[in-house]
């Protein structure tokens, strides 16, 4: 009962005199673990300098603003939100579990979550070999693939079920892989190494970023067609990583929202990859009239 009274008094003080005074009064309250002293340093905890980023066209929703206000005042909310984002990224890393452990000392820089997920495809790899493990990985990610020398595609249906025929083809190598609209990221791309890929589609993948493009150099001898359209995290720095894919014939870079000057980028890409036909739709390439006489 006393706790409620103290909280009510504190709220009233806060409303009347502002947060600084209210917290002073409440310093010895038993609810101290739930409340934060108004130190200047604590204002930095969750980026209070800007309530929302200036690049966002509309301010965030009421729910987000409420969460932000709560995070700035309570440790618990801050920790819970941190846990939530950590769990999300852990789940993503687990989905993209690496087939092969990273061989070198810099394994130690891999976060604990990555190391924990390294063993997921280990069973498949041991019993059926690398190729089947790669195929299984692609089907698990809801992608599809086609073996070299065959014409039928292996894919999973909308509920995630797929046929297990690929298990019998231990020596077949992947030729075309479609991982569009999946959560593949740079770690997962490492699972495709060793296959002479000719076509790779990463269309609409939200986790594919510049570092994932940098890993594509392993396919530089065989890759002919690459589709990275509609990936929101790719920038010009990642497109520079395509320098190694000199054998590329078709490249689709449509609708990349983070490209600053798409017209110029397309020209430079065509210059960098002479054999390649660059498709780039979804940009406004009209010449703008500069103001003035």
């Amino acid at each position: 009962m006393w706790n409620c009274l103290i909280v009510l008094v504190e709220r009233a003080m806060f409303v009347l005199y502002g947060s600084r005074f209210a917290f002073r009064v409440n310093m010895a309250a038993p609810l101290v673990p739930l409340q934060r002293f108004c130190k200047l340093a604590s204002l930095h905890v969750c980026g209070r300098r800007r309530l929302w980023s200036s690049s966002v066209a509309t301010p965030p929703s009421l729910y987000k603003r409420l969460l932000l206000a709560l995070t700035q005042r309570f440790y618990d909310v801050e920790i819970l939100l941190n846990w939530r984002s950590q769990l999300k990224s852990q789940a993503l890393q687990k989905k993209n579990a690496s087939l092969t452990p990273l061989e070198h000392e810099h394994l130690n820089t891999v976060s604990h979550t990555d190391r924990a997920s390294l063993g997921y495809y280990h069973y498949t790899q041991e019993h059926y070999g690398d190729n089947v493990a790669s195929a299984y990985f692609i089907l698990n990610m809801h992608g599809s693939f086609r073996y070299a020398g065959q014409s039928e595609w292996f894919r999973s249906d909308s509920s995630g079920k797929f046929s297990w025929d690929f298990v019998n083809q231990k020596d077949s190598l992947l030729e075309e892989v479609d991982l569009g609209h999946t959560v593949i990221n740079q770690m997962g791309l490492g699972n495709l190494v060793g296959n002479p890929l000719r076509t790779l589609s990463l269309r609409g993948c939200h986790e594919v970023d510049d570092w994932a493009l940098a890993r594509l150099h392993v396919f530089q001898d065989t890759l002919e067609e690459l589709d990275i359209s509609c990936c929101p995290h790719i920038t010009i720095g990642g497109l520079a990583a395509l320098r190694n894919l000199k054998g590329l014939h078709r490249l689709n870079v449509s609708s990349l929202p983070r490209l600053g000057s798409p017209g110029l980028v397309i020209i430079m890409l065509e210059e960098m990859l002479p054999l390649c036909q660059v498709t780039a739709k979804g940009y406004d390439l009209s010449l703008t009239q500069l103001g003035g006489n």
Partner: protein, 454 residues
């Protein structure tokens, strides 16, 4: 009137900030656990890793002291921003690889809740080292070291080089080494700010001020060789406020010297290195500032998007900057022609005489170019062997050094910060073994030199 009375009442009640004595609110706290001197990328990286490795909330109280909040002379922001794994020393390759891995997942490490994600603007264009016959063998040896340590590098013959980059003049080229992954350049200011925001959000205190002296206790000891040395332990760090004579002696347990080009000044303040040469008490910190120039030029017919960070055997380097045909270039001057370090003025004659001929020789399109801008910055140059110095000086019991990177500080900062944090909190290196970069080699006079082609 009522507002004034309300304020007075609020000030009079206990818990208000009012005090009858006027004290500078920007003074650092009187007591801290670890004081990091130097607010560049190395200093903030160490601060971040210290806070990341503490096992309880507010386990260590860390202060970062930086004398210039505008970073006008700091090496970090004036750097060309490149990262490469093409070194000859395994320690350097490992530091660089670990830093690239850090930057790969930078939002996982340095993302602050509710802030925008960190965008380093990393250009994955790779480094290209070009060697002539006399140094090609060094390049081949380095290639096998780099591959063994895990770097993704490839060797190119002159024919392959010409095929990949038709704009290069390959007439005197014997071998080239091209980075495939984890190499390129990025924005140093973004990395510095990301480390700083994250460290501050974890509770590191930033203090703007200059360190003017130390209060140390002295222990006179005899070494096994019979030499009498003074072993010092820092008790207080005197931090002086900008444009003022006011200072605060910060009582601390550990001091980290991440002052970059000006690290030797701190060691002089402690009185270390003033003894006779070739003795332990004469072993000063062999780091001094060296001025290096970077020139920005525009060449519309220059190399395009695949332009790597090219380093020529003659010593010049250049890289693409943006998409508008701009490039930045520089080189290291000869040992005897080092420019004056008292200011950061640019010598434009240096470009005309030393850089442009080699540039035009390597890339014929650069025969016609226009220099649009230039700046100068300091290297924290290790005069002993041009590699980092990480660890404790034998005569300063609680001062950890993270300096002397000689131009590689930015690219090694995440991993070096973690290494120093491990030294401080765990007592020894846990992830990367960098004992070879300690003071042992300076005491034993065995330089750990990079066998590079430049």
């Amino acid at each position: 009137m009522r507002e004034v009375k309300k304020d007075k009442v609020a000030d009079a009640l206990p818990g208000s900030q009012w005090s009858p004595f006027e004290m500078n609110p920007n003074l650092p706290p009187e007591r801290a656990d670890i004081v990091i001197i130097g607010g560049g990328v190395i200093g903030w990286s160490i601060a971040y890793w210290l806070k990341k490795k503490e096992r309880v909330r507010d386990g260590v109280k860390v202060i970062v002291v930086e004398k210039d909040p505008t970073y006008s002379q700091a090496s970090t922001v004036l750097s060309a921003g490149g990262i490469r794994q093409q070194f000859s020393l395994t320690e350097n390759i490992q530091l660089s690889l670990a830093s690239a891995d850090f930057m790969r997942n930078i939002n996982e490490h340095l993302g602050v809740l509710n802030q925008e994600p960190v965008d380093l603007q990393f250009n994955h264009s790779g480094y290209l080292f070009v060697a002539n016959e006399s140094v090609a063998h060094i390049m081949e040896e380095n290639y096998s070291t780099q591959r063994f340590a895990g770097a993704k590098v490839s060797l190119l013959s002159p024919v392959q080089l010409k095929e990949k980059f038709p704009w290069i003049n390959t007439e005197d080229v014997a071998l080239a080494s091209y980075g495939l992954e984890n190499e390129g350049w990025f924005d140093p200011w973004t990395l510095l700010n990301a480390f700083r925001q994250k460290a501050i959000s974890m509770g590191v205190i930033q203090s703007i001020g200059e360190v003017t002296g130390f209060n140390c206790t002295l222990n006179r000891m005899d070494t096994v060789d019979g030499e009498t040395v003074d072993v010092k332990r820092i008790k207080h760090v005197n931090v002086r406020m900008p444009n003022s004579r006011e200072y605060q002696p910060v009582e601390c347990a550990i001091v980290v010297n991440a002052a970059g080009a000006f690290s030797a000044k701190l060691v002089d303040m402690m009185g270390i290195g003033t003894g006779p040469k070739d003795t332990l008490s004469g072993m000063a910190l062999p780091v001094e500032p060296r001025k290096r120039f970077i020139y920005v030029f525009n060449c519309p017919d220059g190399p395009g998007l695949d332009c790597p960070f090219l380093v020529d055997y003659s010593g010049i380097y250049f890289r693409r900057e943006g998409l508008g045909g701009n490039y930045i270039t520089g080189t290291s001057p000869e040992e005897d022609a080092e420019p004056d370090v008292s200011n950061l003025d640019v010598d434009h004659e240096f470009f005309q005489e030393k850089i442009w001929p080699s540039l035009a020789h390597r890339v014929p399109a650069f025969e016609s170019l226009k220099v649009t801008s230039a700046w100068a910055g300091y290297y924290d140059y290790n005069t002993f062997d041009q590699n980092a110095i990480l660890g404790i000086h034998p005569l300063a019991q609680n001062m950890f050094f993270a300096t002397g990177f000689s131009g590689h500080g930015l690219q090694q900062s995440p991993a070096a910060g973690r290494a120093v944090a491990e030294l401080i909190l765990d007592g020894s290196y846990q992830t990367l073994d960098l004992k070879g970069l300690g003071f042992q080699r300076i005491m034993a006079k065995e330089p750990l030199l990079e066998k590079n082609i430049v």
